[in-house]
């Protein structure tokens, strides 16, 4: 059986057009809650988060490696915050190695986690689970 490619080429063209349009919107759409852009210090913190591969054990919004806990809201969590974060960086714990950051670097990491924290909530305990299987998450501005 020889397949006639024309309908397939047509479907491909339609899909590609939709994909282009969709990407355009995704790349130009901000998050649901308006938050400040990452500050230069926070960007530096993010780069440290990457260079030291913090993500390979920790998650943000549940995404990352799984050896350590999620850090999305570690900045604002009760009893945690800036000093708590710095203490862990200084001492390490269990499988987390001790890091040798300067005070400035620690501050940058804290700033990054602070700004991440402002974008939303995870785990999202107050989310509403609907009968359709949909989950309506709670946003920062609804608190």
């Amino acid at each position: 059986m020889v397949s006639n490619p024309r309908p397939y080429i047509f479907i491909m063209a339609v899909l590609l057009a939709l994909f282009g349009f969709y990407n355009y919107i995704i790349y130009n759409t901000d998050g649901y809650v308006a938050v400040e852009k990452l500050s230069p210090v926070a960007v530096q913190g993010q780069q440290l988060f990457q260079s030291n591969r913090c993500w390979s054990c920790h998650q943000l919004y549940g995404l990352g490696g799984y050896l350590g806990p999620d850090l999305t809201n570690v900045y604002s969590a009760e009893g945690k915050g800036a000093n708590y974060i710095k203490a862990f960086l200084n001492s390490g714990v269990k499988s987390m190695p001790q890091f040798h950051f300067t005070e400035e670097e620690k501050e940058a990491l804290v700033q990054y986690l602070k700004q991440v924290d402002e974008t939303g909530i995870y785990p999202n305990y107050d989310a509403e689970i609907e009968a359709t299987g949909w989950v309506k998450i709670k946003y920062r501005n609804e608190e």
Binding site: K37, K94, P123, V135
Partner: protein, 441 residues
């Protein structure tokens, strides 16, 4: 057969697979003995080594197989053998550079591509060379192109795109806006996986049509229907990784709707169960055939899991736990690796027809591999379920206490990880021998 580059790709791929498993085993040891090795090779050093090696195994083995099929089996004259060689050399050198970059902590990149971002350039050039070679070789007339030619072409093109997209964070336009940036990061990695799946699933259809000696499986309308369904999921389905990220809700609605179309795939698997069992030509390809049967089984298991946690209400509880890891490794090992081993056996037989592949040891290894993988997979699911219980139900005790309570499952994960390593090594030994022999000759 003059052209040995495809075989070099395959040898390189197998090396990455086994090295990668050693990294994975050492990493998982830290779940059991957290203090052990943590100052010399912490988990955070080993994870990128493991994940990058294993994704490279899939991509390299798929590339080598595709080159082999078009040039040696289908006997197309390759547009440029030089490009092919250059492609190989680029990937080999970049592979070495990536390991160096990991070893000496030049890891400015992000998850899955943790190496120095500049190393993405030779990788991209390699893909472009592959694309030129592929399309120039095959594109005389698309009439009668079986579905796997479409799939490979699509896989190559989208691979180029999504590897670039995975580095959009280098631009402030993305980077400064955390939620958008994070969403695009996970969009790109999701679609990167979709792209290699195009290559690998294309290979499985190719093998089926070759082993069955029946081209219909690759040319009928249903095959194309599933190809376009897969492509739609590649393009728009990624956001089920980010249901809990505060993106615009429509992005997640679209992903939910698109992801649910995969039920059609499940229904068709069940419906076609008996018919899909390949009957003919087993004699010539006993191991290639067995591995495809294993693929069928693993697709079935994994698709049920994936479908369930693409439902936001279920994803809510499984997200951020080892259930996700069970899915990643369940699919990369259970589906991709079995298809690629089927291809390797097919190729080994092609290179040396007198080779007896289904020896007693290889068959034992095959069985041990599937059993080990099953227990490995179940251990991860249980570990994930326990973490989820801690996160959402009991909410008691510290993170460390929760991790300690899961240790028995991490132990079985580790032991059956060793099982996967040894059994695959047994299965791969004859393939290694054939490849080395042919490359040297």
């Amino acid at each position: 057969m003059k052209n040995k580059v495809p075989l070099l790709f395959l040898l390189f791929a197998l090396t990455a697979l086994f090295l990668g498993m050693l990294f994975g085993l050492t990493a998982s040891l830290q779940y059991l003995l957290p203090e052990f090795l943590k100052e010399t090779v912490p988990f955070s050093k080993l994870r990128p080594f493991h994940v990058t090696s294993e994704t490279s195994w899939i991509v390299l083995a798929a590339t080598g197989s595709i080159y082999f099929f078009i040039a040696s089996v289908e006997k197309f004259e390759l547009f440029s053998p030089k490009f092919q060689l250059l492609h190989f050399i680029l990937f080999l050198l970049t592979g070495v550079a990536i390991y160096f970059s990991f070893a000496f902590d030049y890891t400015e990149g992000r998850e899955y591509f943790a190496f120095k971002p500049i190393l993405m350039i030779p990788i991209l050039i390699g893909w472009v060379l592959f694309a030129i070679n592929y399309f120039k070789t095959l594109y005389t007339n698309m009439k009668g192109w079986p579905v796997y030619y479409w799939m490979w072409g699509t896989g190559i093109v989208f691979m180029c795109y999504h590897l670039m997209e995975a580095h959009f964070w280098l631009f402030d336009f993305f980077r400064l806006n955390f939620i958008k940036d994070f969403a695009v990061q996970w969009k790109s990695t999701g679609s990167f996986t979709g792209s290699w799946n195009m290559l690998v699933y294309g290979i499985s259809i190719y093998l089926m049509s070759e082993i069955k000696k029946d081209t219909d499986v690759a040319t009928n309308k249903i095959a194309f229907f599933f190809y376009f369904l897969g492509l739609t999921n590649l393009m728009f389905g990624w956001a089920h990784h980010t249901y809990l990220l505060p993106t615009q809700p429509w992005i997640r609605y679209v992903a939910y709707a698109i992801s649910m179309t995969e039920w059609i795939v499940l229904a068709s698997i069940i419906y076609n169960w008996k018919r899909s069992v390949l009957k003919i030509e087993k004699e010539n390809h006993p191991m290639a055939y067995r591995f495809l049967l294993a693929t069928d089984f693993w697709i079935f298991i994994n698709i049920i899991l994936a479908l369930l946690f693409s439902i936001p209400a279920i994803n809510f509880f499984t997200h951020g736990t080892h259930v996700t890891v069970a899915h990643s490794m369940g699919t990369t090992i259970g589906i991709n690796t079995t298809i690629l081993f089927s291809a390797l056996f097919f190729i080994a037989h092609y290179v040396r027809p007198q080779l007896k592949t289904d020896t007693k040891w290889v068959k034992r290894g095959f069985v041990a591999f599937n059993i080990s993988l099953f227990i490995f997979f179940v251990s991860l699911i249980i570990a994930g379920a326990k973490r989820s219980y801690w996160m959402y139900v009991s909410k008691e005790g510290s993170f460390a206490e929760m991790q300690d309570s899961i240790v028995p499952y991490y132990i079985s994960f580790f032991i059956f990880g060793i099982g996967i390593f040894i059994s695959l090594l047994i299965v791969a030994t004859p393939i290694f021998k054939v490849l080395l022999h042919k490359i040297k000759s």
